[in-house]
Amino acid sequence: MLVTNLTILVLAGFVGFAVISKVPNTLHTPLMSGTNAIHGIVLLGGLLVIGLAGNSAFNKVILVIAIAFGTINVVGGFLVTDRMLEMFKRKPEPPPAEDAEQ
């Protein structure tokens, strides 16, 4: 089990390097934010552990907090990245009326 998991770890690390080394400078902030959202996967850990039998009341409290934290990480992270990236999309020329508003 340990060796299989270590194999997965090492391979995934190299995949991470390979995929990300191609990201242009301009997209570094969204990238940071996007990968930040992905490590919100620890939410799964909270869900798995709270599902085990025999959690004490104290455990339940800290696990609910952990689930809330994980959810903030995931939901907030993806939404914020999406907002940032939307701005990079080629937009149609804004009509003059909107221009004056700014």
Partner: protein, 469 residues
């Protein structure tokens, strides 16, 4: 019933997890270009949704109510925060999201410790990974919160240090955390030791980030992001979940790479950023930083004339422009100048704003065309042919001291060579120093004219000035 049991088969769930991490990798590869990036991020989000659904199918006990409470709480906090945050506040938002991720990691490790009665009957590697996750998660949680506090200006941006003993104290506390972990691996089941370890890690997180100056904070956030990724991977070992391991390793690798790129952009080693060299140099050279010369102040009308009769203008936007929300006005100015046949380009320093690419986001928000944004290496050779360099709220990234003065704390950091253009106009609120707290000889250069005032108001005055000509 049959359908449910099929859905709960281990292989089916594993396939869902594989689909999830494949989507993460595919989504991340979409982030390599501005056109595919939005889709890439959404694909990764779909992967996350699949992973969460698979986990919910996987679970034994109920406790659904608690899960609903936790998720609802997280959504209620996360969604409005992400929706409302201003683009200028993005770095601290990322810091905060990163911090809560680290918080989740150490809380899960703690619950696991308690569930197993201090890792009784678990293999050694289980304890090792769990303790690693607890320490790193706690450091990341507290470190990110301090980074948030500094960027949000709840805490002073300047380095807060214990002086020379800082590294010694950090070392002792790190050793204390590791010693607690070793005691537990060696067979102690005491929760007190575990809690002491968490506290030591918390203090360490505070002490490591507090001495780092605000200007270096993005590097730190990136590093903490990588740390949280590794801690998530460790949680994956603890729970025997390969999807956690893959995702954590992806984030760990990307965060490390990004951190190295950012340090390189500032021409400093990571060790130099982390171990407070900034504070030390400043203390030594702080008194010598008086430059000779006079400040020449100009009116917006003068600058409007200067710009209108130029052939080529390079705009150098900085954080000051972002704070004043002047990016829309700047684009309007560029449009007016282009109508008069002036060539306008934007020079983007890799660490302009407070994160790499931060300035690009802000300018994209204002509909500045993507090709007009020039990176440092492309624009620097063009400054000698530039008639006017218009520096809007940037300071440290145009400081020639980084090139000329070995004693300067930012010596060696690559800068935009605006001082090589024929004329320089610096728009600034006052003569205050930049985020790094260093004087800038550019402002006293005889080619430089200073236009004081709020960036947005000044730019709007320039727009009307240019229109009137």
């Amino acid at each position: 019933m049959l359908a449910t049991s099929f859905l709960q088969q281990a292989d089916f769930l594993r396939i869902l997890y594989i689909v999830a991490f494949a989507l993460f990798i595919y989504g991340l590869s979409g982030l390599t270009g501005p056109r595919t990036a939005v889709r890439g991020n959404r694909i990764a989000a779909v992967g996350m949704a699949i992973a969460v659904i698979a986990t919910l199918l996987d679970r034994g006990e109920g406790n659904w109510a608690l899960i609903v409470i936790g998720v609802a709480l997280g959504t209620a906090i996360g969604v409005p925060a992400a929706r409302r945050v201003r683009m200028t506040a993005m770095p601290q938002m990322v810091a905060l999201f990163n911090g809560v991720g680290g918080g989740a990691v150490f809380l899960i490790a703690w619950a696991e410790f308690r569930n197993t009665g201090g890792y009784r009957g678990e293999p050694t590697y289980f304890a090792v990974f769990s303790l690693f996750a607890a320490i790193i998660g706690s450091v990341s949680f507290w470190g990110s919160n301090i980074a948030f506090g500094k960027l949000q200006e709840l805490l002073p941006g300047r380095p807060i240090t214990l002086g020379r003993s800082q590294q010694l104290v950090n070392g002792v506390i790190a050793a204390a955390a590791v010693a607690c972990a070793v005691a537990i691996v060696a067979g102690s089941h005491s929760q007190l030791i575990f809690v002491l370890m968490l506290i030591a890690a918390a203090i360490l997180g505070n002490l490591v980030v507090l001495p780092i100056g605000g200007a270096d904070m993005p590097v730190v956030i990136s590093l903490l992001n990588a740390c949280t990724g590794l801690a998530a991977a460790a949680t994956g070992f603890e729970l025997d979940s390969f999807v956690l391991i893959v995702s954590g390793a992806l984030v760990g690798a990307s965060g490390t790479l990004l951190t190295m790129m950012m340090s390189r952009a500032m021409n400093r080693s990571l060790a130099n950023v982390l171990f407070g060299a900034f504070g030390q140099v400043q203390a030594g050279a702080g008194t010598a930083a008086a430059y000779e010369g006079t400040v020449r102040s100009v009116t917006p009308e003068d600058v409007a004339i200067m710009l209108s009769y130029a052939h080529k203008v390079v705009v150098v936007p900085g954080y000051g422009m972002a704070v004043a929300q002047a990016q829309h006005a700047v684009r309007e100015l560029a449009d007016e100048l282009e109508k008069k046949g002036v060539e306008v380009e934007y020079a983007i320093h890799p660490v302009a704003g407070r994160m790499p690419g931060h300035m690009n986001v802000l300018l994209a928000e204002a509909n500045v065309p993507y090709p007009a944004l020039k990176e440092m290496d492309d624009i620097n050779p063009e400054f000698p042919q530039t008639d006017v360099a218009l520096v809007i709220g940037a300071n440290d990234v145009v400081n020639p001291a980084a090139r000329n003065e070995p004693g300067s704390p930012i010596y060696g950091m690559p800068i935009l060579n605006v001082d090589q253009s024929r004329q320089v106009v610096v728009m600034k609120r006052s003569m205050a120093t930049g985020f790094a707290g260093i004087d800038n000889p550019l402002f006293l250069d005889e080619k430089t004219a200073m236009l004081f005032g709020d960036a947005k108001e000044s730019v709007l005055k320039l727009v009307s000035g240019v229109k009137a000509l």
